[in-house]
């Protein structure tokens, strides 16, 4: 099973969409709120070079934004 982390904030629509999508596919994920967890925020910026959410980490592969095609391909779902 892939290890999936979603770096997000609570009021970001694309974050909500990404999490909703993963739930709809029954993919478990760690929901990391970078608004409340400063270390996680720094980790996200370091990993992705991004200062915007969502950032999705699938087994160490970084996806910026809600890129459904890349999520599907990394998780092997159609």
């Amino acid at each position: 099973m892939a290890v999936v982390k979603v770096y997000s904030t609570s009021s970001c629509p694309w974050c909500a969409r990404a999490k909703q999508y993963l739930r709809s596919k029954n993919i478990p994920f760690a929901d990391i709120n970078v608004a409340t967890d400063r270390n996680a925020a720094m980790e996200m910026v370091r990993k992705s070079g991004q200062q915007g959410v969502p950032v999705i980490d699938i087994d160490g592969n970084i996806i910026v934004g809600f890129d459904q095609a890349r999520i599907d391909s990394l998780l092997g779902i159609a």
């Binding site: 904030t9 970001c12 915007g52």
Partner: protein
């Protein structure tokens, strides 16, 4: 297995002819969904991102009636979504890529499936206008953001430049004060364009700086944003403002690029409607920010949704 299941679902969708398809699940689309559901029209709302649309990214709505202390944008979106579902209107998530709106039956196309309907309400809204300055593409997501409630927390104690000084800009500027006091507004017009109450409030933050009558020439840095170069409109004087983050609120552009070419738009791409929100195409209506109107607010979007759904009901009755 999953593939087969999805394929079956797509096929199923394409065989149903809905009374009404609503494109967009913001306040306009959701309200239309409530009215259409209560009128017992077989209705589906198609939302690309998340219900509530742009309003869901607003921290607090203070001018929507019924909530004396204001209501969170995301909270209101969730309440409206639950309300829609109560009346049997479906909500599906997907991106509409094109439409065929002429003729009795309207076709709505996704990448790999389609939906048919007797009537359509276009409530696809508008998206933030992107900043056109040197470095804008390079730093998208690396210091430039269009959503303070989404990304604001990543700029704690950092220097922020806000481009624009209308309602959204000032509201989000007030929101960002919880993360940093180093906030500078840059607006091309020589005055603030936000409502008076917001102008009064931003004055409560004395560290906030304003450069009015000033445009952003470039956004500069190595890996991330380090500064912006601003230029005064009148004197043509250039100067640097140190910045870690640039939040942009310079208006919106309507999401109409996926629609039939025959649909009448104004010069800026907004849909032209009559007072019953009918477009130039039979059975096609528009509601909310996507149409030509003066005041784009959650309440006017909701109002549009009610009117458009009512017009659809009358249209279908007369068929």
């Amino acid at each position: 297995m999953l593939q087969l299941k999805m394929k079956k679902q797509e096929e199923k969708i394409s065989k149903i002819i809905y009374d009404l398809v609503i494109i967009g699940g913001g306040p306009a689309g959701l309200t239309a969904g409530i009215y259409a559901g209560r009128a017992r029209l077989k209705t589906v709302i198609i939302e690309e991102i998340i219900t509530g649309g742009q309003s869901a990214t607003t921290e607090l709505l203070e001018n929507y009636p019924g909530f004396k202390d204001g209501v969170g944008g995301m909270d209101l979106a969730m309440i409206m979504t639950e309300q829609v579902k109560r009346f049997g209107t479906e909500i599906i998530y997907g991106k509409v890529i094109s439409t065929k709106l002429t003729g009795e039956i309207k076709d709505i196309y996704f990448a790999s499936s389609m939906i048919k309907a007797k009537a359509v309400i276009i409530a696809s809204g508008a998206i933030p206008r992107k900043i056109k300055a040197e470095g804008a593409d390079k730093f998208h997501g690396r210091g430039i953001s269009y959503c303070a409630t989404c990304d604001g927390a990543l700029f704690r104690d950092k220097k922020i430049v806000i481009v624009g000084a209308g309602n959204s800009a000032i509201e989000e500027g007030i929101f960002l004060q919880r993360f940093t006091k180093d906030i500078t507004f840059v607006q091309d017009l020589p005055y603030l364009t936000a409502e008076k109450i917001l102008q009064e409030r931003i004055k409560n933050y004395p560290d906030t700086k304003f450069y009015l009558g000033t445009i952003i020439k470039s956004i500069n840095g190595e890996e991330r944003v380090e500064s912006v170069t601003a230029r005064t409109v009148k004197e043509n004087k250039e100067f640097e403002i140190p910045a870690d983050g640039v939040f942009v609120y310079i208006g919106y552009i309507p999401k109409t690029d996926f629609l039939d070419k025959g649909l009448k738009l104004d010069g800026q791409g907004y849909i032209v409607t009559d007072e019953n929100l009918k477009t130039n195409l039979d059975g096609v209506f528009a509601a909310g920010d996507v149409r030509v109107k003066d005041l784009r607010q959650v309440i006017t979007a909701a109002s549009d949704g009610a009117i458009a759904a009512h017009s659809v009901e009358k249209y279908l009755e007369n068929k």
